[in-house]
Symmetry: C2
């Protein structure tokens, strides 16, 4: 495969030679399982969380997303039984193979982690839901000269399961999952202003500071996904909605049947340009 690396237009690319891959190029690498975490890849392309649900649950799950748009911003869904992603979202994309890591849940229990879900797909009629991801706005912060600790430290962003309940819909309920990035006080307003327009990528932080940490009922040093972030004393944590929430809902609700999802951080990178859909 030939991959052209364009001239970097942003500081984000300086440390990451794969930052300027297109969405289609990232998907090729993911399909071949040559990459894992997609943070920083496909700079400027919309990245998505995935939840594949038995078609009989599609209406309830769509409504679950609509009732929790900050945690589950709905980007697209597939036709029942059709593994093809709508072509304006991601061309020539097979949802069963084009991520490099999947989690398989049965009756609410994680039963397998796989690199494709071709086998599972045959056992029922499924609908795949693509849900926005906060990876999609990180380039905008970097472009504004706002660095993020997990990028500086080379860690995966800190993710927590909170005590805050999502709004139930049909059989789906569960606790909200959040990602956390710390900033100095003088950046708070700017972070809010920059990220608020990216509503398909969870938008601006939903909670801030120690008050946010308390409301979430979490220990900031104990991540449930990703890695802990080394913080300075005057760092202010900013908490964003996170598209892992649907997976915890599947587990918390113990919904009967087989569900498939992306592996944390191993997102579907689409052909959508972030600036085109979040202006």
């Amino acid at each position: 495969m030939t991959i052209e690396i364009n001239t970097p237009s942003s500081t984000a690319t300086l440390k990451n030679p794969k930052a300027h891959l297109t969405g289609a190029e990232v998907r090729k690498l993911a399909r071949a399982n040559l990459i894992g975490d997609t943070g920083g890849l496909g700079h400027g392309y919309v990245q998505c969380n995935l939840l594949i649900v038995p078609a009989r649950y599609a209406d309830d799950f769509r409504r679950f997303c609509q009732r929790n748009p900050v945690s589950c911003p709905l980007v697209a869904e597939t036709a029942p039984g059709d593994p093809t992603v709508p072509s304006h979202i991601a061309a020539d994309c097979d949802i069963r193979t084009d991520l490099s890591g999947y989690c398989v849940y049965k009756d609410g229990e994680l039963v397998a982690t796989k690199t494709d879900v071709l086998e599972e797909w045959e056992k029922d009629t499924y609908v795949a839901f693509l849900i926005g991801c906060s990876y999609s706005f990180e380039h905008a912060l970097l472009d504004a000269g706002i660095t993020m600790r997990h990028r500086e430290q080379g860690t995966v962003v800190s993710v927590y399961k909170s005590k805050i309940p999502l709004n139930a819909a049909g059989p789906f309920s569960g606790a909200m999952v959040v990602s956390m990035r710390p900033f100095k006080a003088d950046k708070v307003k700017q972070v809010q202003e920059i990220t608020k327009k990216y509503m398909l990528a969870h938008g601006e932080p939903m909670l801030w500071g120690d008050e946010g940490t308390q409301a979430l009922g979490i220990d900031i040093n104990k991540t449930d996904w990703g890695q802990p972030t080394n913080m300075e004393d005057d760092d202010i944590p900013a908490y964003w909605g996170c598209g892992i929430s649907p997976q915890t809902a599947v587990m918390d609700s113990k919904v009967e049947g087989t569900f498939m999802a992306h592996r944390g951080g191993y997102m579907l990178v689409t052909d959508l340009r972030v600036e085109d859909v979040c202006a």
Copy 2:
């Protein structure tokens, strides 16, 4: 004023001769301050919560609603400075006079309760937001033969300020407000099925049962608005989003400036038929 009472088509009307008023008729009564609580009035017409914000906050407040659609389902908004409600929502309706009770907030503090806000309207440029209300789906439960305790007991529905944070947007943040109606276990599924389509009226319950009560962090016997509900031992509380949430957000956030809102229960009854907008 001549008011025609049509033949009752539902059990809801049997106890309430004003159930079959049209939205326009209810507004006339409200304008003349001849009614207060609008529960059970204008059977089948969409009832709305109100928040009037200085125009400079309109974008942030609209986004606040979009990020919290279960608490703040957005039905309509007015043009900046224009007190007229869009005519397809409520014809010949002046938002400053056509509710029978208003609360006025200054810098986050409740400073007055009034029957119109003509005087306040002159002091700034305002945008009025209409937000759906759970009164709009009660007729559907009654039509299905599902009674509600507050209707049986002749009390105002129980409303609580919870410990659950809403998703922040710009200067707006705060704790979620919920309304509660108890049901027997054998009605739970039916209540969920019936109310889920009324997304502009908060849709299906967001939380259920003792687990919900705990997640909300409330004492079910201590209401913050409305009145306590006498419950039987095997009653299961169902919690819905509530459009008083924006008022608590204005207070919790201590947003600078003058804000106006409806008085709890004294809703704007529109010309929209519930079944037309929530099918």
